[in-house]
């Protein structure tokens, strides 16, 4: 793993100037390497992880189990990519087991998400069935606990 990727994974919220200091590179070089990672498709993007319940955003999230018909030549890929392109879809995974795709969806209201499932998703040729589960509460997001601990744990300031 490249040093800059390791640092991205472990350094949390370092800005590029701080990353430059750790990696002993110029800030311009850090930016160049980040661009390169983006071009290579390794770094897809950087997003904040928010506690949306605090924001009272009204955002509704759902997980949908989708069964689809695989196709000769492409298997599940063409349909999975087609479904992934919808803005409502946050993540989409091919799964083993009782269904094929697990689709994470969000929308401004229950009705919007329901409309997406009934009008867009289920009507795609090759989609055999959907089972939609609405999320009630989040306890952990992208490895951050929602009821997180204080940033600095309670260590004595000086100890032997």
């Amino acid at each position: 793993m490249k040093p800059i990727v390791k640092l991205l994974l472990e350094g949390g919220s370092l800005n590029t100037a701080q990353m430059a200091q750790v990696l002993k590179l110029s800030e311009a070089e850090v930016n160049r390497q980040l661009d390169e990672l983006k071009k290579e498709g390794v770094l897809l993007g950087v997003r904040p992880v928010l506690n949306l319940s605090q924001e009272d955003s009204g955002l509704v999230r759902a997980v949908i189990e989708v069964r689809i018909t695989p196709e000769r030549g492409g298997g599940y890929n063409r349909l999975a990519e087609r479904i992934s392109r919808f803005d409502e879809v946050e993540s989409c995974y091919l799964m083993s087991g009782g269904y094929d795709l697990l689709v994470f969806v969000n929308g401004a209201s229950l009705q919007r998400v329901a409309a997406f499932v009934s009008e867009k998703l289920s009507t795609i040729e090759g989609v055999l069935s959907t089972a939609t589960h609405f999320m009630l509460r989040s306890y952990k997001e992208n490895s951050f606990l929602i009821e997180g601990k204080a940033a600095e744990n309670e260590r004595l300031k000086v100890s032997p």
């Binding site: 350094g11 919220s13 200091q21 260590r155 000086v158």
Partner: protein, 390 residues
């Protein structure tokens, strides 16, 4: 009534820890970035904490045997055999203690007669000297030097040795220097111990946090198991400082002697901590390695920064401490630490807290986040530059 006249003389004469003095100053200040901490910044990995909770739920609230849970002693045997190439019978060669500190204290109390001399290398962990004094032994410090990357050399041992020396305490890798010894050096120390008929108390609490090369336990050197008490614990590698759980392995006769003291003072270590320790040994390796890798990269960063700043710093091969030389500033280690704290609110521990020959050095713990290390290093740089202008 003057209560102080009732205090035992050897306790009255015990010097106050230099760490405590410094703690008094730091604890009164706000927003300090502290590199003065002697423990991991990670909380104990969750699966280990969860094992402690489970133990409570299952009603594990009773005494254990004096030696500790046999399951834990078995797990220790396997772990030590695998990682240190020396095997101890769980039945009578392993004892579970309240942190490695208790194990060290037990060894001192079980082995030291009044007037026995005990060698230990300095700078060293703050409790070594007092542990010897409290058991009426005579402390024989052996200096380690920056030029050797604070490895303990046989030359220094030879120079310090005197008739009546009975024990040798080792702490490799070492708090506060991060210095350690390679296999050849450990073999040379072993040879010296045999020659002088010394029992070795080997505190290897930082051994998992060895970044370069392989850690060699002196207990694994042929002929040494019979004269070594291997001391270890869970605090550093598994981030379990608050659980207070450690152990000692050694010849059955010595462990039995330590057990006698242990049964009349401590009785046994906390059963909850013992249960959690089993989990740490059986399934904690991945989490431990992850933490070690992070310390490793942070070490590389902070040591490089100290050298860039002009505070000469050797690369500590183990532990999570850097030990930079601050004498270039023209200040002694105490004045440097205090002025740094006052001017820039960064805490480092003056090297003399770990023995007189820590003079000129400060200990910086790098078990803290990148953000803090970056900011601390920038503040230290500013302070060194402004001190130079004066």
């Amino acid at each position: 009534m003057d209560s102080s006249r009732y205090i035992a003389k050897h306790v009255v004469n015990l010097p106050k820890s230099g760490i405590r003095d410094f703690f008094e100053i730091v604890s009164k200040m706000k927003d300090v970035i502290s590199l003065g901490i002697g423990e991991p910044d990670f909380d104990t990995p969750w699966h280990i904490r969860e094992a402690g909770i489970y133990a409570l739920e299952k009603g594990k609230t009773h005494y254990t045997s004096n030696l500790g849970l046999v399951e834990l002693r078995r797990a220790i045997n396997k772990y030590v055999e695998k990682n240190y190439s020396v095997s101890y019978r769980p039945e009578d060669e392993v004892i579970i203690t309240v942190g490695v500190s208790e194990a060290l204290d037990l060894a001192c109390r079980a082995l030291i007669n009044p007037g026995d001399k005990v060698m230990f290398h300095q700078p060293c962990y703050v409790s070594y000297h007092p542990s010897i004094t409290l058991t009426h032994g005579i402390a024989v410090p052996v200096p380690t030097f920056a030029k050797d990357n604070f490895a303990l050399t046989v030359e220094a041992l030879r120079a310090a040795w005197q008739p009546g020396c009975k024990l040798l305490m080792l702490n490799l890798p070492c708090n506060p220097t991060g210095g350690t010894c390679d296999r050849a050096q450990v073999e040379a120390i072993a040879k010296f111990a045999v020659e002088k008929d010394l029992i070795v108390l080997s505190d290897e609490i930082y051994s998992e946090l060895t970044f370069e090369g392989v850690h060699t336990s002196i207990a694994s050197i042929p002929g040494m198991k019979e004269r070594t008490i291997f001391l270890h614990g869970f605090s550093k590698a598994f981030a379990m400082t608050g659980w207070r759980i450690g152990y000692a392995c050694g010849p059955a006769g010595l462990i039995e002697a330590m057990m006698k003291v242990h049964q009349y003072s401590m009785l046994c270590a906390s059963i909850i901590s013992q249960e959690a320790a089993i989990e740490a040994l059986l399934r904690g390796e991945d989490a431990m390695k992850k933490m070690r890798d992070q310390y490793h990269r942070r070490r590389d960063f902070i040591v490089r920064r100290f050298n860039e700043i002009g505070l000469k710093c050797h690369l500590p091969r183990g532990s999570f401490y850097a030990f930079p030389d601050v004498s270039v500033t023209g200040l002694n280690e105490k004045d440097f630490a205090v002025s740094l704290l006052q001017a820039e609110k960064v805490a480092m521990v003056p090297g003399t807290a770990f023995g007189a020959n820590g003079a000129g050095f400060c200990r910086a713990c790098f078990a803290t986040s990148y953000e803090q290390l970056i900011e601390a290093s920038n503040r230290i740089e500013r302070h060194v530059q402004s001190s130079a202008k004066k």
